[in-house]
Amino acid sequence: MSTTSRTNILTVRNLYGRIEGQQVVEDVSFDVPDTGVTALLGRNGVGKTSTIKSILGLIDRTGAITLAGRRVDRLPTHKVVQLGVGYVPEDREVFGKLSVAENLKLAERSAHPNRALVEELFPDLVQRHAQLAGTLSGGQQQMVSLARALLNQNRLLLVDEPTKGLSPKIVTEVTQALLAAAKTVPILLVEQNLQVIRQLADRVVVLSGGRVVFTGEAAELLDDPERIQRYLGVHSGADHSSTDHSNTEQVPA
């Protein structure tokens, strides 16, 4: 896939992020094209989640962040999101004391949310609309988390480790949902599961030591075991077409 014909929905330049004075993102620069899935990769603790949070303004940040041609790095989180950014956080972060329906209602940003898409992708949630989100399984909570983002017309989705801690069956369902979503909205994806990355990602950005060390087509990285070993610390050799995640490769801690 060529990148020359693409425009970028998100550009990040010289991004620094801090949590309680501690530098967690250091001089990160990359682009996210306006189509497809861009995977943000790296070993645990390199700052992938912090980069996503910096883009949203959930942690202190400096640097230039441009969304659809507009600088957003001085905007508070809710304004960044209102410009059309959907966020699926690490660990789901559903509101456990609210019902499924209330979780979704809270996430609606317009008078005409895309309920049909959510009901098509996650029919289980329709059945469980009155159930407290805190009583759902991890997979069901992830569906609520994804549904909250997909309800709205977004320019970009930021999806942070959507398959973390889920069973292989649910990983497949989540992957399918993200594949469907990626047809209509570009996605910046943080993911540890290389099988999932193979299925979803068009491009990859690799962080190491808080900095970007590789940017390019997904195949360029995923077909190069030496690079995978060097950047992600994992051996690659699985069947790329497999959707069986019982033996998935994980980027180690």
Binding site: L56, L58, P76, V81, E93, F95, L98, L106, R109, R148
Partner: protein, 291 residues
Amino acid sequence: MSTIVLLLITGLGLGALYFLVASGLSLIYGLMGVLNFAHGSFLTIGAFIGWEVARRLSDGSWWALVAAMLTGAVVGALVAAATEFFLIRRLYNRHIEQVLVTVGLALASVALFEGIWGTDPTYVTSPSWLGQTTEILGARIPNNRFMLILVAVLVLVAIVLFLKFTRYGLIVRAGVENRLMVTALGIDVRRAFTLVFAIGGAAAGLGGVLASIYYGYVSAHIGGSLLIFAFIVTVIGGLGSLAGAAIASVLVAVLQQFANFYLGGTGDLAVVLALAAVLLLRPRGLMGAKA
């Protein structure tokens, strides 16, 4: 038997006052993590201005009392919203500064109230029925206790309906669980902060007018003295839990009344011991969220 009924119902009346103060404290802490030591000032100014209005309308009439309660609630709401907007908003997540500012505001406002209304209590004139008693199971219950209980129940129902059936109520309930995630859904949670301060201030202002009926006077220190017990109620009930605040208000006030009567005026001591017991045995309170 009549003594027990008297203590129970007067305890419920006092609990109603505690709830009107503690409900706001609990909501504010639950959503924003702010321990608001200036909350008693919202009560006091609500009481003073409410009775100023009543006095100018028709002292001792029912409609003057209603006007006083409405004025107290509105003044409490406005002062609380202004406090959040001008002082607290800049200090979220800076807990030491919040405590310093709210304690400072509480001290300064007492001095201001004493400067305006003097240091002596100002006695209030309420409708004569409130000063009479009604006999229940042989106990002669002051009528004003019934009004306190009724108003507190109405306030509780109103807050529950607001939380359950309005969009801002939904935002507040979600914000109590995870404030950052609410903003990450594109919601300006600061508006909810101001609104919750205003609701808490309204309940406190209304409580101020009712407290002055309970005590028979209003003074610059009326808010501060009730605030101490409201904090105890909030901690025992569980910080951030409205239902916990309601239950703890009743338990604390009834315990206080019984201890005062049967244990030689040791009500305040009994309440402090109950607080210590809860902190030792169940630090998150009766209905507080797990840490």
